[in-house]
Symmetry: D2
Subunit: 287 residues, 4 copies
Amino acid sequence: MTDTTDGLETRILAVYDSLTPKQQMLARFILDNRYFASFASASELGAKVDASAATVIRFCQTLGYDGLPGLQGAIRAELPSYLTAVERLEHRLTALPASTDLPRHVFAIDVQNIQRTASAIDQAIFEAAVRQLAAAREIVVVATGVTAAAGFFLAYSLEVIGLRARAVLDGGVAQAVTLTHLGAEDVVVGLGVWRYVRSTLDALHQAKEQGTTVIAITDSIVSPLARHADYAFEVATEGAMHSLSMTGVMSLINALVAAASLVDPSRTSRALQRIDQQFVARELLIS
Amino acid sequence: MTDTTDGLETRILAVYDSLTPKQQMLARFILDNRYFASFASASELGAKVDASAATVIRFCQTLGYDGLPGLQGAIRAELPSYLTAVERLEHRLTALPASTDLPRHVFAIDVQNIQRTASAIDQAIFEAAVRQLAAAREIVVVATGVTAAAGFFLAYSLEVIGLRARAVLDGGVAQAVTLTHLGAEDVVVGLGVWRYVRSTLDALHQAKEQGTTVIAITDSIVSPLARHADYAFEVATEGAMHSLSMTGVMSLINALVAAASLVDPSRTSRALQRIDQQFVARELLIS
Amino acid sequence: MTDTTDGLETRILAVYDSLTPKQQMLARFILDNRYFASFASASELGAKVDASAATVIRFCQTLGYDGLPGLQGAIRAELPSYLTAVERLEHRLTALPASTDLPRHVFAIDVQNIQRTASAIDQAIFEAAVRQLAAAREIVVVATGVTAAAGFFLAYSLEVIGLRARAVLDGGVAQAVTLTHLGAEDVVVGLGVWRYVRSTLDALHQAKEQGTTVIAITDSIVSPLARHADYAFEVATEGAMHSLSMTGVMSLINALVAAASLVDPSRTSRALQRIDQQFVARELLIS
Amino acid sequence: MTDTTDGLETRILAVYDSLTPKQQMLARFILDNRYFASFASASELGAKVDASAATVIRFCQTLGYDGLPGLQGAIRAELPSYLTAVERLEHRLTALPASTDLPRHVFAIDVQNIQRTASAIDQAIFEAAVRQLAAAREIVVVATGVTAAAGFFLAYSLEVIGLRARAVLDGGVAQAVTLTHLGAEDVVVGLGVWRYVRSTLDALHQAKEQGTTVIAITDSIVSPLARHADYAFEVATEGAMHSLSMTGVMSLINALVAAASLVDPSRTSRALQRIDQQFVARELLIS
C-alpha cells in the first residue's frame, strides 16, 4: 500500500514488482512523459502502451490516487516550474564541473530540440496548416512571455512573403480588441509552452467562438493550447539552465514560412520585390 | 587582360593559370568567402592565406580592379540580396523534386546553423561579453527586420534573470531618444545580418560616441556591426528558401543568458522567485 | 418605504421630502457625483456635506440599502459601461438633430475636459509628483486600453527631457517581469479610468510592495488607482459619443513634463541637444 | 539695400517704409505665418493677401533673396528647432516670474490649441475623410516621435468601433514591410508636425504609389505631409516650454472617431458589445 503523502515515483516503486507487465509499461511511460501524462485522457494514455482506458484508471487506483485526475494533479504539483527552475539553477551551479563548456552544452541541447521537433512533425497536419496560412484573409499570431519573440518572428516572416499578419504579444485589453475583428476567413496562431499563460488560451477560446481557424505551436499535443486548436504542432523546448529554449520553435517557423512561400510563388516574389524596392528607395540598408 | 564589365569569377578564370600559387589560394579563398572578402581589410584577407597586404592589393590590380575597394564593390554588387532571393525562390521552385521533404530539409539546415555558430565561438570573447552583460547598469538591445525577434528574446531573457534590459526594434526617432541616456556603465547589443540595416549601425555609432560598451551579434566578424563592436559574435544564418534563419542566433542567445545567469546565481534566483510570485498572485498562468 | 428593485434615483425621490436638510444635501451630492460616491468611504462622503460617517450610513439605510456597500453596489450597477455606451450611441443617433455640428461639439467638450482637469489640480501634490519624477532612477509608466496612448506619450516625453522612462502598455507577463526590477529609487505612474483594468491595479500593488513611489492619473481621487497611489491626479474624461476623451489627460501630461523639465534645466538642455544632434547626424528629419 | 547676412526681420524692417501697401501686407503676413510661408508656393502666398505670384517673387528679390526659395531657406534656418527649444527653455527659465502658475499656463495654451484646431476644420474635408475611414478594408496609422502616441490612440479607437486598424510607429524596415500590403481599398493616416520626420513622409509616398488613400494630420496645410495627402487636417500644437502639444490632435481624433462611429451605428454597437463580452468573460476589469 502507498502513503498518500508520497510522490509519484515513490508510489510506483513501492508497488512496481507486483504490477502486471502492461502496468509496468504504463508506469515507465508515465515517468518518462510526465507533461503528456499530466494532460492526456485515459484512452490517450492507454493507447501509448496498447492498454485500455479502464486499465489506466485501475493503475491510478493501485497507486492510491482517486482515478486519473488524482494522478495528474500529483504530476502537476511536481512538474518543473519557475521555482523548481531556481532549484535546478542552484543544483547545477554546485554540480557543474568547473571545466564544463557551457555554450557547447547549450548548442548540443538545441540540436536535440530541433531533431525532436522534426521527428514530431505530422506531414498531413503540416501541409494542412500551411494551406490555411496561405489562404487566410488575415493572420493574428498570439504569444507572450518566453514565446513572444517567436510569435513576433512568425508574423514578420509571413508579412515578408505577402500575407497579412500581425502579432499580439501581451494579452490583455489590446488582444481582446484586435481579435474581435476575426471571422471564418482568418487564422489565429497561438504559441505557448508550460507553464501555459492564461491570456493565450483565452485568445484561442475567443477565436474558436468566432469561427476562426486555430493553429497551436506548443510543447505537447495534449497541452491546453493543442486541445483548442484545429492544427497543433509539438515542439521540444529543453533548456540548459533555468529557462526553456525557443530554438525548436524557430526552426519549425522557418519550415512553415518556407512551405507557405511556395503555395503561391508569384505572390511571394511580388512581395519580396516590393519590399526590396522600398528598402532601396528609402536607403534603409547599407550599400 | 580582363574586361572591365566582367564579373569577379570570369576575371579570375581568365587569369587563374598565370597566377602564383599564393595568388591562386587567395583567389579560391575569396570565391569561397565573399561576405568576408567584401568587408575585410587587405591585411585581414592576406592573413587567411599567409600573404601580405601588398600581395592582396597587387592581386586586385591583376584582376583589373582599382585596388581592394574596387574588388569589394564588385563582390557586393553580385552578393545575394532580396532580389536574388526572389531568383533563388524561382529556381528552387523548378528545381525541387516533388518528393522533397521541405520541413526536414529546413531542420537539417538549422542543425548546421547551430553547429557552425558553435564552432565560431571564441571562449575568451564569450566570457568577456557575459561579464559585461552581468555588470551593466542597463542593457539596450538594438535589432530590426529579420533579427528583431531575436533581439526581443534577448532583452526579455535578460530581464527574467534580474538584469535591466529593453529592446529597441524599429530604428528611427525612438531609438535615437532612448540611446541618448546611455553611458559608460551601460551595454548595447546590436544584432544585424546581411543586408545590414543602416539604423542599427547608427545605434552602434551613437553608443560608441557615448562611451557605451557594444556587443555585436552578426553574420561575419568583418561585418560593419562587428567593426563597431567591442565584442562580436559570428552566427550562421543559412535559410532553405528566400530568407535567413535565426535559429543559430537564438541558440547563441540561450548560451549567453545561461552563462549570465551563473555570474550572480543569487540575483538570478531572486529574480525568478519574484517573477513567479507575481505570476501566481495575479493568476497569469493556468494552474 | 422603498422597493428593493427600485433604482437609486427612484428611492431618493420617494423619501426626499422626509429627509433632514443635511440628508437632502447628501442625496443631491451623491446624485451629482456618482463615480466618487461609488468608491468613497462613509467619512469621505460625509465630509463633502459636513456630515458624520454615521449620518451617511443611516442615510443608506433610510433608502433601504444594507449600509454604504449596498448603495455603492447599486450605483455601480447603474454606472455607464461599454454596454450602456452602446445604448448612449443608439440614443444619440436618434436624438442628434441632423444639423448638429459633431466636430465642434467634440471640441467644446474637450475644452471643458481641460478646464475641469485644471480646476482639480492640487498645487502641492503637483509639485511633489514633479519632484519625484525628476529624481527617479527609472520611471515606468503603466497604462492599457483607452489610456495606453497617453501613457506612451508620457514615457516618451520624459525620455526627451533626459529622464530614464519606459512604458508598459499591455499588462500580462511582460509587465510583471519589467516591474520586478523596481525599488525605492524608482517611480511608477499608473493611468486608468472607469472601467478600471485589473492589470494596471496589479501593477500599482506590485510597485507598492517593492517600495516604489506610485503616481496615479485617474478619473476620481477615490478610484482604486488613486487609493494605491502616493500622489493622485483627477482628470475629466467626458466623451461626445460612446468613448472617453484623453484630452484632459494629455494636457495634464504636458503640464507635468513642462514642470519636470524645469527642475534641472541644464539636464533638459543637454538631453535636447544630444537628441537634436542624433536627428541631424542620422538625417531623420526633413531639412 | 539689405545685407545678405541679415535675418528676415531685419531685411523687412530695412525696406518696409518703401514697400507698396500690398507688399507691406505680404511682409506682415509672412512674419506672422512663417511655417506656412516656408512651404507655400508663390501663388498660395499671394492668395493670402490678394496678390499675384509675380508680386511675391518681386518682393523676395526686393529683400535681397534669390526668389522665393531663398526667402524660404532663410525662414527655415530661423524657425524653432529642438536647439532653439533649448534656448526658449533657458529664456523662459530666467523670464518666468517666480509666481507663474505653470500648470494653469499649460492648460490655457491647450484650450487655445483645441479652439484653433476646431476653427481650421473644413466640414467637407472632415466628412469625406470620415467616409474613407469607415469604408476602408484596412487602416494603417503612421506616426513617430512626438506624434506616435496620438497615432497609437487613433488606431486603437478605430479598432474599438469595429474597423480594422493598426499603428506603425517607428518607421524603418517594419513600416516598409507592413505598408507593402496596402492597395486601393485601404487608407493610410499619417501624423507629423514640424520638424517633420522623413520616414513618415516616405510612408505617404509609398501609399500614394500603391494607390492607397492618404489622410494627413499635420500642423500646416502646406506641410510636406499635407502635400502628399488626399485629405489634410491642420492642428495647433503650441507648447508651453520646449515641446509641442498633442492636445489639439487628440481632440481632432475624438471628432473623427465619433463621426466614424455614426457611419454604421449597428457595426459600432456590435463591436462594442463583442469587446465588452470579452472583457467580462476574461475578467479584465475590476468589477
